[in-house]
Amino acid sequence: MSGENWQVFMTFGFFIILLSVCGLYCLLVTRNLIRAIIGLELLFKAVTLLIIVVGYVTGRNALTQAIVITVIVIEVVVAAVAGGIALRVFRHTNGLDARELKKLRG
């Protein structure tokens, strides 16, 4: 791979890792279920960007764009279903506190 492309890949890679750390931190620290889902979305964003960068540096934009479109569809469906579950939880516990979801243990 040419040095220039490699540099692009490395630069993007650096920020992609930072973005996923952001998402993971959000997922782990928050006590709100919707915010946890937002953390997951950040992770998905990071990985989408990674796929596009790979497409760019290998010159296979067509393939990676096709992949990314599918990933985006999946992402939305996951977010919708997760939101639905959070909504249900809200209806049962009257709150979105992740600490409520500790009844199953042991």
Binding site: L40, L50, I74, H92, L104
Partner: protein
Amino acid sequence: MPSLLIFIPLFGIVILNLPFGKAMRNAAFWFALAVFIVQIVLAITHQPIFWGNEIEQMDAFFRVNFSVDQLSFVMLLCIGLVSLTSLLVMRDTIFDINERFKFINLLMLASMGMSGIVMVTDIFTMYIFLEITAIASFILIAFEKDVYALEGAFKYMVLSALASVLILAATAILLLGAGSASFTAIADAIHRTDNNLIAVAMGLFVCGLLIKGGMVPFHGWLPDAYGAASPAVSVLLAGIVTKAAGIYTLIRALNSILGFDANIKALLLALGTISILVGAFAAIGQKDFKRMLAYSSISQTGYIVLGFGCATPLAIAGAVFHLFNHSIFKSLLFVNSAAVETRLGSTDMDRAGGLAQKMPITGFTSVIGALSAAGIPPLSGFWSKIIIVVALWQAGHTWYAATAIMASIITLAYLLAMQRKVFFGKLALGLEDIEEARLGIRAASVMLAAIIIGFGVLFPSAYAIFIAPIGEMFIK
């Protein structure tokens, strides 16, 4: 024509959902039943007209590229059997016609996703089918809509999404070297390049699959999801979903994509052993029937992964056979738990007792299931475990083999404790008028018990037909 396994149910679901009134909703059950039975029959007979490449028009029409080998056949058989079981259990646990209809749709979609997983030849398409199965599963878990089910579903969703991210990241990095997402291209790229990044991608990929498969320490979601789901869903999840999504994909990835890398083998051996032990020990003290079975499931999956980590043809054949056996006996035990749950209203083992007197079929089949899980001759579970252990010796992994055998005793201990608490001993107070489970559950448990006994007794021929060819697949 393997694509028909995906498209016929898909079109069926679309048509069933058209607004044609109640008749469609009643037909859904029979349609699903027919689809699953046809899948079982085709997987057993290896019908060349259906699977063969002579009649390509269908696949060519849809421009899909499926490939089916021995391993896929075993998996398709499991998928058909467990989905059928789940359907039969559903018949006796969900009675509202609209609920039933939605459930059947989701069940067929999940089953379709799994059939896709075992037939694809492209890493990204595999990911899509994984996602189909996963999303359908967590909707199914949340189907119950009590707060426990929601909790289980949410945990599964979070961990599963994390796994998706890992798998996608790995796919992206592998694309960097391969330029195409097909198995062959990626295998070629891995073979060609010696780079840290690619190695890390392999690690990410395997970790993603291990989360889906619920191996220790990636297993946190599994007991909650299995335990909280409604009976029919537990059967499906424990029997096949995690196996198809995590374990089958793992062996496919190792064999067709990543190759048996030394580091990954060491990783799998270690994780397999830890899973066996943690699962078994955690199962000992459980008070809830389903939760105990869930931990037991982790432990049994450990055996399978241990077999993969050993990576000799015999070990992999044994592991795949154990995968099949596990699908059958764990489904059977979950069907038994469903029988208890429908009659007792809960799966708390302390509340049950002496149920075998009132529910003889459930009691008897649960003994068969438990003994097969513990690896007792001549039931089929024994053969797969012994093959794995023998293969481990032959490969020189004596300590792993010894651990595997020791854990087998723990398995027997907790399963016997369960038997004593739930089915034998004195009849618990207030259970005098309890009845045997309904027809669907009974039929499912008898069918699965018959398979366990049949495979155990006819092991040599079953071995020759199903298992040995898988071992041969891996001889390089």
